[in-house]
């Protein structure tokens, strides 16, 4: 069965606002998580990752938060831009397999 899942299938955000995409996982032994962005007609593209010994990691305009107590992680995108419109997946990486959730489609309104 699916080990990771997202709360909302779609998110509409005003350009310039911050976006928050949520994801829940069920395997308490999971120790490595990745967020991917998939634009139409393309393969998933790595955004940011986090290991279970951390609760926060920041990249360029993106922040991932991990709450192991409730098995939840989130991706925050600062100052959302039109180019951020895409489907976002959280994935749990075991030894080598990625287990993806169903994805959240983010639409940026001008």
């Amino acid at each position: 069965g699916e080990s990771v899942g997202l709360h909302l299938p779609t998110l509409s955000v005003q350009e310039g606002d911050n976006s928050i995409i949520n994801c829940a996982y069920s395997n308490s032994a999971s120790d490595y998580f990745i967020w991917y962005k998939q634009e139409s007609g393309k393969g998933p593209q790595f955004i940011i990752d986090i290991r279970s010994n951390m609760d926060k990691r920041q990249g360029q305009r993106v922040t991932v938060l991990l709450n192991k107590t409730v098995k939840h992680l989130s991706l925050q995108i600062a100052a959302t831009q039109p180019g951020d419109s895409a489907v976002y997946f959280c994935a749990e990486n075991g030894n080598y397999k990625l287990s993806f959730g169903a994805g959240t489609t983010v639409t940026v309104r001008a």
Binding site: Y32, I34, G41, K42, G43, P44, Q45, F46, D49, F89, A91, N93, N95, Y96, K97, L98, S99, F100, G101, A102, G103
Partner: protein
Amino acid sequence: GAGVSQSPRYKVAKRGQDVALRCDPISGHVSLFWYQQALGQGPEFLTYFQNEAQLDKSGLPSDRFFAERPEGSVSTLKIQRTQQEDSAVYLCASSPPGQGKVREKLFFGSGTQLSVL
């Protein structure tokens, strides 16, 4: 090339036909993966190669699916006697040599969209 290359980009097959999907990984990448992505879903693992060795094929849906990577570079995913439920995007990904577990981020190709009529 700079990234993972997959061909063909689109494939339309009649039910019962055999198809072959090609993946050219990034040069020097040891690990290669195939994923299947149904419409509106996240990718699902199919199989994993390390060099020419197929280390895990547990995700292949049936014995109609076969993958190979004979020289440890290019890989082919073959589907025999295609069925409508095989319609999906087939993604290939590769990753460079790492230490111990394959935990590096994967580089995905743009996929082959297979439509079985």
